[in-house]
């Protein structure tokens, strides 16, 4: 099952991973997780707050679509995505992606693929606030290159 949600409140990756893993059947031999955190620096600028704007309904649907695509590509049926939106404090988790599969390779591949999709294609608008004011952020060239490599 694909479980995708956007949370306006901080969430506990530990509790979510525990809940997700508890759903595994006896054919599951691997759970792979990725947790992304809000860094306190970006391109050598201090970041005091990150704001992620989303489009309620549309953003969740798009994340589900991306997760379904990553799962189908690697034959992984169970994926979990929790993505923060709203005002995020530095150090807080922003995204949790978890996959379960019979063996580790498929789960690793699905998580990495889905993270690459999310970094460029998820409908979020990101604004970093630092000592020199607030800036809207767009995907980095590196993110785009990784995404294009995926599309080949």
């Amino acid at each position: 099952m694909i479980r995708a949600s956007v949370s306006l409140e901080p969430f506990s990756p530990d509790a979510e991973v525990a809940r997700f893993s508890s759903l595994r059947g006896d054919g599951c031999g691997a759970v792979v997780t990725f947790i992304g955190y809000c860094r306190g620096r970006s391109k050598n600028r201090a970041v005091t707050q990150l704001e992620l704007e989303h489009y309620p309904g549309f953003t969740e649907a798009e994340i589900s679509r991306l997760a379904t695509a990553a799962g189908e590509k690697h034959d992984v049926k169970d994926l979990l995505v929790i993505h923060r939106a709203g005002a995020i404090a530095t150090g807080d988790p922003i995204v949790l992606v978890a996959a379960m599969s019979a063996h580790r390779a498929a789960a690793f591949a699905a998580v990495e693929e889905l993270m690459d999709y999310l970094k460029t294609d998820a409908p979020f608008w990101k604004r970093e606030t630092g000592p020199d004011g607030a800036h809207w952020i767009e995907p980095t060239a590196e993110d785009r290159i990784r995404r294009e490599e995926r599309a080949k």
Binding site: F58, A61, K119, T120, A122, F124, W125
Partner: protein, 84 residues
């Protein structure tokens, strides 16, 4: 009434994230809607013409000036996605 939504830097330019409007009967496409908005707010018009703006009509991504907005309840203008 049609709900117009503006995200990211477009929200800043529009001054608000949401506008409820009565679309005139002669506005049938995204291109005509952009021109109508530009007529009353040149800055917003310029921002909506910039590259990389995506348009979502009733929660479905529908890029292109010729896309119909007739009968739409919600039209969202999205600047380039920041990603997660």
């Amino acid at each position: 009434m049609t709900r117009l939504l503006f995200f990211g830097r477009l929200r800043d330019v529009a001054g608000q994230g949401e506008r409820l409007v009565d679309l005139p009967a002669d506005i049938g496409t995204v291109g005509e809607l952009r021109a109508w908005l530009a007529n009353e707010d040149a800055d917003l018009g310029a921002a909506l013409q910039a590259g990389g703006i995506h348009v979502v009509v009733d929660q479905v991504l529908r890029n292109g000036a010729a896309v119909s907005v007739r009968g739409a309840r919600e039209i969202a203008f999205m600047p380039p996605l920041s990603g997660g």
